[in-house]
């Protein structure tokens, strides 16, 4: 159930708040994040395991997991 | 009308009794002669009325704690003397900026520095006005009797609640340590004012917006459901820091005008035989007692002398002093410092009125005879 429940949440980013510090990129266990002209970019939403480490260590609250309302 | 209770009371004690009458619920301070009786009496009396007392680690902390307590909704006071008053200045400025009602009692002793700790002075008068950095409103009251210490402490609380600003009770040590007869007023003889509060769960409450026809923002207490922000930075109507020049200008204008537009409500003074006075004495606090005796004796010798005693030292009673100096062509300012309150007198007096100043800083109160001698020299 844990894996299933996690699946529903998706990665969201806020470009206006991201300051391109690269912490999320460095510590994403599956390397699905990168910086594109100093803003976070999600390379592969499906490979993301929803572990939440990026949200945990983002100093700018600019990346997070959220259940999609429309699902 | 029930008879008043009459007691023999010390000025410092009367200050506490007045504070309790005004609804004091929180005292934070630090021991310092000649104000410590105020802390001691508060520590004994506040618990009896469900209030709270704390002795903090220094005067800075004492000033900080009363601001915190006021934000939590309690009428708060601290008391100190010169050295402590100096330490409190930054947080006094904070309370003025963030518009926090509180009362600061400064029992003035001979300075500067450690000075003569048990000796009286009036040397903190300008510090009360200019002690902290920047422009900010100032209200300070000075009693010249134990009864007035009682009444003015109530008034200090009322003014601080009404204008949301720190109010100083500038009491020289003469009055602070003086014991004399006092008739305690009955509750129906004085008014107690409480800060205006926002209507409960008012959804669009702006912590620092002033409602139409009101003088200051309504003040919610922390914990009542209005999560608002308080800061010493220049802030906007919501209390959030802003660096815009117009926000800064509007804020400072508000802080100053809420006092300047209401001087008639704030300023009180007492006059003795000033109608036909050719020489006007200006004296306040304990010194005014000697001055009034001097006036009496000089009048008996046929000299047209009068006394103007400001009770509200700040804001300075400009209109009245100017008016009086249109008649009295000579003014003698008598104070226990080397010429502080005389400065604004120079500024507002009529050009053709001559100002004399007699100051004493050796720790001894100024006597009527000294004043009479000065009157005769100037008359």
């Amino acid at each position: 159930m844990e894996q299933e429940q996690k699946k529903k949440k998706n990665l969201k980013t806020i470009r206006e708040w991201c300051k391109g510090c690269g912490i999320c990129v460095a510590f994403c266990p599956v390397k699905v994040l990168e910086l594109e002209n100093e803003k976070v970019k999600v390379l592969d939403y499906d490979k993301c395991t929803r572990c939440g480490l990026c949200e945990l260590r983002c100093p700018d609250l600019a990346i997070y997991l959220e259940e999609d309302q429309n699902e | 009308m029930s008879k008043n209770v009459v007691k023999l009371m010390q000025g410092n004690e009367a200050c506490v009794e007045g504070a309790l009458a005004a609804g004091l619920q929180f005292y934070a301070g630090y021991p310092i002669t000649p104000s410590t009786e105020i802390a001691e009496i508060c520590s004994a009396k506040l618990p009896l009325v469900g209030g709270k007392f704390i002795q903090m680690e220094d005067e800075i902390a004492g000033m900080a704690a009363i601001i915190g307590a006021s934000l939590a909704g309690l009428k708060s006071m601290t008391a100190t003397s010169g050295p402590g008053f100096s330490l409190k200045q930054e947080n006094i400025g904070y309370a003025a900026m963030a518009q926090i009602p509180c009362v600061v009692v400064d029992v003035m002793r001979a300075g500067p520095s450690t000075g003569l700790p048990t000796a009286p002075s009036q040397g903190d008068v300008m510090q009360a006005k200019w002690g902290t950095h920047g422009d900010h409103p100032t209200i300070s009251l000075t009693p010249n009797s134990v009864r007035e210490a009682y009444d003015l402490t109530i008034r200090a609380f009322n003014l601080s609640e009404k204008y949301r600003t720190p109010v100083f009770l500038l009491m020289d040590e003469i009055i602070g340590h003086l014991r004399e007869r006092i008739e305690i007023p009955n509750p129906d003889e004085y008014e107690v004012f409480d800060r205006l509060k926002p209507t409960p769960n008012d959804k669009n409450y702006k912590a620092y917006a002033v409602k139409e026809g009101e003088i200051v923002p309504r003040m919610a207490s922390f914990g009542e459901g209005f999560s608002y922000h308080v800061t010493g930075l220049v802030y906007d109507e919501y209390g959030f820091p802003k660096t815009d020049t117009d926000v800064a200008e509007n804020l400072l204008n508000h802080l100053m005008s809420k006092i300047d537009n209401n001087v008639d409500d704030i300023i009180t003074y007492e006059e003795t035989q000033t109608d036909d006075a050719e020489l006007l004495i200006i004296a306040y606090g304990g010194v005014a007692r000697a001055a009034s005796k001097a006036v009496k004796e000089c009048r008996e010798q046929g000299m047209k002398v009068g006394l103007f005693r400001p009770i509200t030292l700040w804001p300075f009673p400009e209109k009245r002093v100017n008016k009086l100096t249109q008649k009295s062509k000579k003014v003698l300012v008598v104070e226990m410092n080397l010429g502080q309150y005389v400065i604004p007198v120079h500024r507002v007096k009529e050009p053709d009125s001559k100002v004399f100043q007699y100051g004493k800083v050796n720790g001894e109160p100024i006597s009527p005879d000294e004043i009479i001698k000065k009157i005769k020299e100037a008359y």
């Binding site: 100093p59 | 704390i54 902390a61 900080a64 922390f222 999560s227």
Partner: protein, 279 residues
């Protein structure tokens, strides 16, 4: 539509974001940690009061949607003492920096600890004065550089947790912006502790501390904490040579002690009871 994650929507004044901290500064992580701890404990937002001093750390109070009080430099704990004693129902949390708390605020820090008043103090320790441009602080490690110690400091730095324990705090822990989950747990335990709780949260200041001391950027600082933090329980088992260059994290002290405000309220009740008895 206000931006941000559910936590941000619930607990932050998101119209005031993005915050002012530099890219990669650890303070944002710690601020989020404070809010996560509050959320985990399901505290009543109306009863939470965040008091901060002056400096980078202390801008945090403006972003969080509680009763917030941004005070003067070093004095947050003295203001907070007034708030807490006046209304013991409030959950008072102080946000402060290494300089704000242990330099100018040192006297209030040790006395608040001595009293064991129920306040949770979170020290955002970036080992430098960031707001004023990189001067060294009482937490800057000896011989390291700041703009006022261009040749390296000769000031030995505080062990803030030892200072907190020595002064009387009843809960003391240290973690880092990298170990954010552990940090959240410690903040939670600090809030739950009925007494003076100190959580030293080692932040990362790439702009000044990292740059001036050639310790790299935000990621390098995070990695430094990852590689050099040593939990005190693990440290007990390690030989000395393994501890060289490491710094200790974990819970240093947790003790049930009489709490200041409740002790004072006992006196108030006793005194009032005695008076009503002999009236």
């Amino acid at each position: 539509m206000s931006l941000g994650s559910p936590i941000v929507k619930e607990y932050f004044r998101s119209d005031r974001l993005p915050h002012i901290w530099c890219p990669g500064c650890g303070h944002g992580v710690i601020m989020r940690g404070v809010v996560m701890a509050i959320d985990n404990l399901k505290l009543d937002k109306k009863k939470v009061c965040v008091v901060s001093g002056i400096g980078c750390s202390s801008r945090a109070s403006g972003y969080m949607d509680f009763n917030t009080l941004h005070t003067t430099h070093g004095r947050a704990l003295a203001f907070a003492t007034g708030v807490k004693l006046a209304n013991p129902e409030l959950e008072v949390i102080v946000v402060t920096g290494d300089g704000d708390c242990t330099a100018i605020g040192g006297n209030h820090f040790i006395h608040a600890a001595r009293r064991n008043i129920d306040i949770t103090t979170i020290i955002f320790n970036n080992k430098i004065y960031g707001m004023t441009g990189g001067q060294y602080s009482p937490a800057t490690p000896l011989h390291e550089v700041g703009t006022t110690a261009p040749y390296g400091t000769v000031d030995p730095d505080f062990d803030i947790c030892k200072l907190a324990v020595g002064a009387g705090s009843s809960y003391v822990a240290r973690s880092t912006a990298y170990h954010a989950n552990q940090l959240i747990k410690y903040i939670q335990k600090g809030i739950e502790n009925k007494g003076f709780s100190v959580i030293e949260a080692i932040s990362g200041c790439p702009t000044y501390y990292g740059r001036k001391n050639k310790k790299g950027d935000a990621v390098d600082l995070m990695n430094y904490y990852k590689d050099n933090a040593l939990d005190i329980k693990a440290a007990e088992k390690l030989p000395e040579d393994k501890k060289v260059g490491k710094f200790l994290t974990g819970e240093f002290h947790h003790e049930a002690k009489p709490e200041y405000v409740s002790e004072y309220m006992k006196i108030v009740e006793k005194v009032q009871k005695e008076r009503s008895e002999n009236e």
